[in-house]
Amino acid sequence: MGERAKRLALVASKGSLDQAYPPLILASTAAAMGWEVGIFFTFYGLDILHKKRLEHLQVSPVGNPAMPPPIPAIPMLKVPTLMGALPGMTAMATTMMKGWMAKAKMPTIKEMLDLCVEADVQLIACATTMGVMGITQADLIPAAKCAGATTFLDYAADADVSLFI
């Protein structure tokens, strides 16, 4: 051996269900390949580490012109923004996405987090966001460590792959 392992540095800044999966999937896959991985959760990404919120992440069709309604027969059909703003539409879109995930046997957000923790992925919570949004260490899963941008930049400076989500 003697060769340094690759390092992946990720920023997870979004808290919607469709944006919570990519950082966790990339992290767990890189870890499976023996890479060092660190995810810096900031802004709404902090919800992914939030004990009470992480199992209730949602996705909205509003301003999300890629989101389709559950009518697979018409592939081009997407949810128009005004319709997406109607009451109940966010819940419907979230239920639909959870259904896709279950059908494809994708793990839940909680299961993905457990996989990451088991694989020694560093889960770093942005201290500034915690202050701005009134989130305390007790609100976050035990594996989360609190740090600032300097810590992330220092980690990313030696990373082979750095991604912002």
């Binding site: 051996m1 690759k6 999937i25 767990s28 896959t29 499976a32 390949m33 023996g34 494809a104 046997k105 994708m106 793990p107 996989l115």
Partner: protein, 80 residues
């Protein structure tokens, strides 16, 4: 051709999608001795390229690969 008796561990990841097949493969490789072979069965079409990339990055060897009825079979030997 690797004989059945030479396979140290069998993984059935049929129906599972990325990242599961690779995550399970990585776990299984860690659990066998160096030089031992792990068999992975998967239906995820992405797994073909994923296993090749896994091999390239980790140094473990893809000894054999075959496909039958939509099921991909990979034999990977732990290199170190």
């Amino acid at each position: 051709m690797v004989a059945d008796g030479q396979i140290a561990k069998r993984l059935d990841c049929q129906g599972l999608v990325c990242p599961y097949p690779i995550i399970e493969l990585a776990r299984a490789i860690k659990s066998v001795d160096t030089g031992a072979i792990v068999e992975l069965l998967a239906t995820d079409p992405g797994s073909v390229r994923d296993v090749e990339a896994f091999q390239k990055r980790t140094g473990h060897q893809l000894v054999e690969q075959s496909q039958a009825n939509g099921v991909f079979r990979f034999l990977v030997r732990r290199a170190k």
